[in-house]
């Protein structure tokens, strides 16, 4: 770990000012990802700005039935919040499927969105990795890539985004609110993550010095919400595949559908085309298979991760079947 300056911000403006001042500054929230990366010298900020004292820890109702979640709301608190459990059960399920109780107590909303990939090779500074050292190559391509992406990857990087929470938020059409020297802005969560392309080290659309202040959830869409995470052990493992669905249907028609995948792409992967196909389908077995095909139509797999394609399809079909089951 490289030595660094530590500063505790007392106002959001102060944090943003400090962040803008130095290129090598970073915010630290729960620290559950950043500190690990600093110990391995994968992240080497020379200036840490602790945001934990900022007044961003509340969940507030907004006019019109939306909800604002402060950047510092802990994952445990968010999962346990009664409004979330009642109106956005998908989000609560996703959070509780992530990490462990101890980590969730510490992890924050913004930190969770911005956690970095769990690609093995990213985590060993001695390995070539375009995300860590641009231009050094991608060791995962010819190495173990069982946990890597089948959608949205590039020849430069096949890493996945590991968050469960972000997948649920993507299905819920959440918006990210930020503050920077240029002022406040708000944009759909889908725009937060950038495709890896030839610059996998540039992961988000946040500008230098831009801080996430909150995430807003629009009023819950109608329909059954479900988060299904498939993993190598029953708890405390990242998703091999996760599927978030919100489906409003009966045995005759589907009125509303949202589909998002985790564990398969460099970002939470929204299945817009499959959603539309589902809207015009009667939820029969054949139709489900077709929709799963559509959702994974662009999949490209590597030596060890081809199973993710059928796995994602089966998990999606199961989720839709469950959501459209009567009773």
């Amino acid at each position: 770990m490289k030595s660094f300056l530590y500063e505790r911000a007392t106002t959001t403006q102060q944090a943003v000012d400090a962040l803008a001042k130095r290129l090598d500054a970073k915010l630290i929230a729960g620290g559950t990802n950043l500190l690990d990366l600093m110990k391995l010298e994968i992240e080497q900020p020379r200036h840490l700005i602790d945001v934990n004292s900022l007044p961003l820890s509340s969940i507030e109702p907004l006019p019109g039935g939306a909800l604002r979640i402060g950047a510092l709301v802990r994952n445990s608190d968010l999962a346990a919040d009664s409004r979330i459990r009642r109106e956005y059960p998908l989000l609560s399920q996703a959070l509780l499927a992530g990490a462990s109780g101890q980590i969730r107590n510490q992890a924050t909303t913004a930190g969770n969105l911005l956690q970095r990939t769990r690609c093995y090779y990213f985590y060993d500074p001695r390995m070539p990795c375009n995300k860590r050292v641009p231009g050094s190559g991608c060791a995962a391509l010819n190495g173990f890539n069982r946990i890597h992406a089948v959608l949205g990857a590039s020849d430069h990087c096949i890493a996945t985004h590991p968050s469960d929470m972000a997948v649920a938020m993507t299905a819920l059409d959440a918006r990210v609110e930020t503050l920077s020297a240029a002022g406040a802005r708000s944009f759909p969560i889908d725009q937060l993550y950038r495709p890896p392309g030839s610059t996998p080290h540039v992961e988000t659309s946040l500008a230098q010095g831009e801080m996430i202040t909150s995430v807003t959830l629009p009023p819950p869409p109608p329909g059954r919400q479900m988060y299904r995470k498939v993993r190598d052990r029953a708890s405390f493992a990242f998703a091999l595949v996760a599927v978030a669905t919100i489906i409003d249907a009966d045995s005759v028609a589907v009125r509303n559908a949202r589909i998002a995948f985790g564990g398969v792409a460099p970002k939470p992967w929204r299945g817009i085309v499959a959603e539309q196909a589902l809207l015009s389908a009667r939820p029969s077995r054949d139709a489900l298979e077709q929709i799963a095909e559509i959702a994974l139509a662009d999949a490209r797999s590597q030596k060890h991760n081809a199973f993710k394609v059928p796995l994602a399809k089966r998990t999606l079909m199961h989720a839709i079947a469950e959501s459209t089951r009567d009773g």
């Binding site: 030595s3 985590y123 390995m127 052990r233 029953a234 199973f307 796995l311 998990t315």
Partner: protein, 728 residues
């Protein structure tokens, strides 16, 4: 973890032989309080008289080759740095020597130099130690060391590694190959056959306490504070490596946060601390990071195992073949004895076992909980299940039909000598009853609950019983406290507790008056903890010492004013060679397999064991349950991935090296069959530290087959291996 107390421990306790009151009782851990309050000090935590400096290990970033240049100037000048040690300035040490040693024993004590030369034998091999006033200073400086390598093509891919060779012997000195009858012909002619190849993965021990040491010199004498299973090994290795007399090395290891075989020999942390402390004339502490442990603190080799079983139509085995190829390091040989148990488990007239090795450019494999049985029984006990399925015979019945039995005597089929005791059948029968084996469907894939397939499996367990030469001293103080002193270790198994019970019984004293002192090489030498021989070896020595002390007391009116002491010992008796000694068991598992995702979850397990007298049912149960959980790990998730290009163990942390967590375990029940094996030792006990893992994974794998009808022979059974075969 769900816990239900259905064991017959209480019955066992009440049926103790004369003179045993404490032995057999579920006494709480003596050291439990010290451990949960933090009072127990582990290797890295000891307080030494001078201020400690902190060492940080830098590991190689290639898997095979040579250091051409190493520039440590910046690191040396870095703030707070006291010393940067590389192969260029490391003090002279003994040579490492040949890949094999003259005797199996010497593997444990041979010199293990560090930073000896420019050669890189495996990825993450220590190439420098940075010592600083703080850990942080040392670690930061290590990052600035510049190294240039000459890279050689390494062998990291077992599939490509076609060349195998026949080692001289296996670990623990067993014959490499055995054969009886005429296997090839008998197998060819057998009416029912299984011929299957299984593979097992590299596994990493990952004890909670990382490998760590503090070294402190006083003149020419060094004290090593560390976590080790066997103090004598570390002592001999340090003395041999540094070329100093054995008497100049003291090893202190009162508490150990788990070893599982990874703390049987001295690793780089110990040697680096000793070297740096001598150079700096100041105590130095060195710990491996979790990541470094994967390459530097041992692993279980991977294996490819061909199992061939030939049987008649009644399920009587005619031919048993178990041929193993496992990985070893180019520079030091380790032959896991994966096929050895097969020689004693079932009877057949025609038998062959064989061990071959493939050289990889990794660090050496080491002893990992039940070396041999753990990977070997995954294969053989899966094959027995395959045979039972082919014969449409109940797996328990198949095993009963193949009990080695000659005219009513249970004879070891390989050695032709009687078993000291063998209650495998009783374990299977009792286990089946308690588990509800009758609920199993003989037809695979037949039980469905919603979107889950439910299956049941079983497997046998066998594990040799050992005893190692050990000594102990007991000191009765004038005020009536009995101090029990030996260089034995408690690696979390409960040694402090059972030795207290043993001393209490022989001396007829309350446990509270007994103080067991372990983990200091100045105390009488024992065989340490390993191979499940700890309780029998150290316990027998304590028993002997107490018996002698008691005899002295009989001739005296009371405790003399200066106190009284006695020494005791144990060695292998003649009985040891006259009988084949093993503990046995039977595992039962119920799994649920998700029809959509192929996720496998163990719902419950039950193990029934015949392991002689159970000294303490509470600590025994912990050992067995731990072993069974390891079995779940081996069957379903544990694997250390060796990158084929770089030779790095790439999933080297506990986020990506998966071991079962509580949610993976479900309910585990254990039961001990009443058994006293008088030929084993004075207590009639047998080792149990490793018995729980033997066969446990196979029971899980067999349950997966029973649930799905899909036989996966490549361990661990991760979901992608089932998925293509599950109905859509």
């Amino acid at each position: 973890m769900a816990e239900r107390n259905m064991t017959s421990n209480d019955q066992i306790a009440s049926k103790n032989g004369p003179g045993f009151q404490q032995i057999g009782q579920p006494l709480d851990r003596i050291d439990g309080r010290a451990k949960v309050t933090g009072a127990a000090r582990y290797g890295y935590e000891h307080i030494v008289s001078d201020k400690c400096a902190f060492g940080y290990i830098l590991g190689a970033s290639i898997g095979r080759g040579r250091i051409v240049a190493i520039d440590a100037q910046a690191a040396t000048k870095s703030p707070g740095v006291l010393l940067v040690m590389t192969h260029k300035n490391a003090p002279a040490q003994a040579r490492f020597g040949e890949p094999t040693t003259a005797t199996p024993r010497e593997v444990f004590t041979r010199p293990r130099p560090v930073l000896g030369d420019a050669h890189i034998r495996y990825f993450d091999q220590p190439i420098a130690l940075v010592v600083g006033e703080t850990f942080e200073a040392a670690r930061a400086a290590a990052g600035s060391i510049d190294v240039r390598y000459e890279r050689l093509q390494g062998d990291f891919e077992p599939e490509l590694c076609a060349a195998t060779y026949r080692p001289e012997r296996t670990n623990a000195g067993f014959a490499t190959d055995t054969s009886a009858g005429g296997f090839a012909k008998a197998f060819a002619q057998a009416p029912v056959k299984v011929d299957a190849t299984y593979t097992t993965a590299f596994e990493s021990h990952n004890p909670m306490e990382p490998h760590a040491a503090i070294a402190q010199w006083e003149g020419d004498r060094v004290t090593i504070y560390t976590g080790t299973q066997t103090l004598a090994n570390v002592r001999a290795c340090v003395a041999g490596t540094l070329q100093i007399p054995l008497d100049s090395v003291r090893v202190v290891s009162p508490f150990i946060g788990g070893g599982f075989g990874s703390k049987l020999i001295a690793h780089a942390d110990i040697m680096l601390a000793a070297l740096a402390a001598r150079v700096l004339q100041r105590p130095v502490k060195v710990a491996m990071t979790r990541q470094q442990m994967f390459a530097n603190a041992g692993h279980r080799p991977l294996s490819i195992q061909q199992v061939r079983l030939g049987a008649d139509r009644d399920g009587k085995l005619i031919a048993i073949g178990h041929e193993v190829c496992s990985s070893t390091a180019r520079f030091e040989e380790f032959t896991e004895q994966t096929g050895v148990f097969t020689r004693s488990l079932y009877a057949a007239d025609h038998r062959v076992t064989r061990h071959r090795l493939m050289r990889l450019d990794t660090n050496r494999g080491e002893w990992m909980r039940a070396p041999g049985e753990a990977p070997g029984m995954l294969a053989v006990e899966s094959a027995m299940d395959e045979l039972a399925h082919a014969l449409q015979l109940d797996p328990i019945e198949l095993r009963i039909r193949n009990e080695p039995n000659l005219d009513g005597t249970s004879l070891d089929p390989d050695r032709g000598i009687p078993f000291s005791s063998r209650n495998l059948i009783e374990c299977m029968r009792r286990g089946a009853r308690l588990f509800g084996w009758e609920r199993r469907s003989a037809r695979p894939g037949a039980i469905r609950e919603g979107r889950k397939l439910i299956g049941h499996g079983m497997a046998a367990a066998i594990r040799p019983n050992y005893i190692g030469p050990s000594r102990a001293r007991v000191v009765l103080e004038p005020r009536g406290t009995l101090r029990v002193q030996l260089d034995m270790t408690d690696i979390g198994t409960g040694t402090y507790t059972i030795l207290t019970q043993i001393a209490a019984d022989v001396m007829q004293m309350p446990p509270a008056s007994i103080k067991v002192e372990l983990g200091d090489s100045q105390l009488p030498t024992t065989a340490g903890s390993g191979g499940s021989w700890g309780a029998a070896s150290a316990g027998s020595a304590v028993h002997d010492a107490c018996t002698k002390l008691k005899r002295q007391l009989l001739d005296l009116p009371g405790i003399p004013p200066g106190g009284l002491q006695a020494e005791g010992s144990v060695t292998r008796s003649a009985e040891y060679d006259r009988y084949s000694q093993h503990a046995f068991g039977a595992h039962f598992a119920e799994v649920a397999v998700d029809l959509d995702t192929a996720e496998i979850r163990v719902r419950r397990m039950l193990g029934a064991f015949a392991a002689g007298r159970i000294l303490n049912p509470k600590t025994a149960r912990s050992q067995i349950v731990g072993g069974m959980i390891w079995g779940i790990g081996a069957a379903l998730m544990e694997q250390t991935l060796l990158d084929p290009l770089h030779g790095a163990f790439i999933n080297h942390d506990l986020a990506e090296y998966h071991i079962p967590v509580n949610a993976d375990v479900g309910q585990i029940d254990t039961v001990f069959i009443e058994e006293v094996d008088e030929r084993a030792n004075v207590f009639g006990s047998k080792g149990i530290g490793e018995l729980g893992i033997c066969g446990a994974g196979a029971a899980v794998a067999n349950a997966v087959f029973n649930a799905t009808g899909i036989r996966v022979r490549e361990f661990p059974i991760t979901l992608e291996k089932l998925l293509p075969f599950l109905p859509g």
